[in-house]
């Protein structure tokens, strides 16, 4: 039996407030696995055998349409629970999660979920909040896609990424994992061409700084203003 050091979940919000002994107890059913950059943790349509917590690294969660287009649902950062299909009554995973950099995840069999939440009711509540937060975010995204133009959506997406995975730099904040224009396009419902043009324009104005699979936001506040401005009000 793989034994996992309980300290790895010391700062997982979902498990906050539990004792070390309780952590150990929970980890009894878990396994830690390494996922190489680019490899999937699970794939859309697969039977939902397990649920997960990301310990280290970054994952991209995406949905594939029947005709092969893909949409980025979100990025997972360390400490988050993901792949909880079992908790919401899905038999199969509704999306694919793959590593954008070498990552480490904890894996529990789906079967232990009911047991866990029965034993720690706070867990149910926390999980509910986590799912609720994602619902909120999804709705925000729907509203955004319905009412704002591409430039504003890209601005919002960048701000969200910065908040979720920003790394402070001398001059601005950098998104802490490799991300392509294509990724940003798939987060905002546009094309990599349009994203490239927008970022170029922003770079011109000193708002951001780009690079291969790299985005640095120099002026988050300016970006915020852009994101919030009403759809008609352009320069």
């Amino acid at each position: 039996m793989t034994s996992v050091d309980p300290s790895v979940i010391a700062d997982v919000p979902l498990f906050a407030g539990l004792s070390r002994a309780e952590h150990e107890d929970m980890l009894r059913d878990a396994k830690a696995i390494r996922v190489a950059k680019g490899r999937p943790v699970f794939a859309q349509g697969e039977a939902a055998h397990s649920f997960f917590v990301l310990v280290h690294g970054h994952l991209r969660v995406m949905k594939l349409t029947p005709d092969g287009q893909q949409v980025v649902v979100r990025f997972v950062v360390p400490g988050e629970i993901f792949g909880v299909a079992c908790a919401i009554g899905c038999k199969t995973y509704p999306a694919t999660a793959s590593a954008v950099i070498d990552s480490v995840v904890l894996v529990w069999p789906s079967a232990v979920w009911p047991e866990l939440i029965a034993r720690w009711p706070a867990l149910a509540s926390r999980a509910m909040h986590a799912i609720g937060g994602r619902l909120q975010e999804a709705h925000t995204r729907v509203v955004e896609m319905s009412t704002r133009q591409v430039e504003q959506r890209v601005a919002h997406a960048l701000l969200r990424l910065v908040q979720q995975a920003g790394r402070k730099l001398d001059k601005g904040v950098e998104i802490a994992f490799p991300i392509t224009r294509q990724d940003v396009a798939e987060m905002t419902g546009t094309t990599l061409h349009t994203v490239s043009r927008i970022l170029s324009a922003w770079e011109e104005r000193g708002l951001v700084e780009g690079g291969r699979q790299r985005i640095v936001v120099r002026e988050p506040h300016q970006l915020f203003i852009l994101a919030e401005s009403s759809p008609g009000a352009s320069a």
Copy 2:
């Protein structure tokens, strides 16, 4: 103290499998209120004092953007729980719910939620599934908005409405509550003008039949084919 007849929640899926005595117990904290057509049950931004179950009628849930545009999040049909901000850790309602026809709702104070789920753990699980379902739907909508054109999105929206609130007619299925082209536009991220044109075109082809605040789907299957066809493949 208002006493509510336990039979009103006999067919609420959330409470299925509980005994009549348990229903009574739950209803002890509830009040039933009538909401006139057009009146809000709660409004976006308001403190989330209560959560609800719709007993009779239909509600529209919508979000308002800072600049006054609105987006329809969903319609609530009888038997559904809604306004569960408290369950997902929101202090205020993130959207507005108002009656599209005269309706009756059960109201519980948010404060009893923790109590209820503590007493009936199955409730927590059911609620989780309900929220999960909405998350799925929201993601589906994001994918749709990112990858399909307006006509396909409208087709999907109609099919969803038919499934949720379809009333079988001699010639087709009717959406069982008054709904305007504006509503459909706000569900699909387009304008009432475009929706009107699309419905007119479909009516021409015999797929649907329209009227004031009324839509009858004559050929669900044709609509389905339209909804699924790849974005480029038009007549």
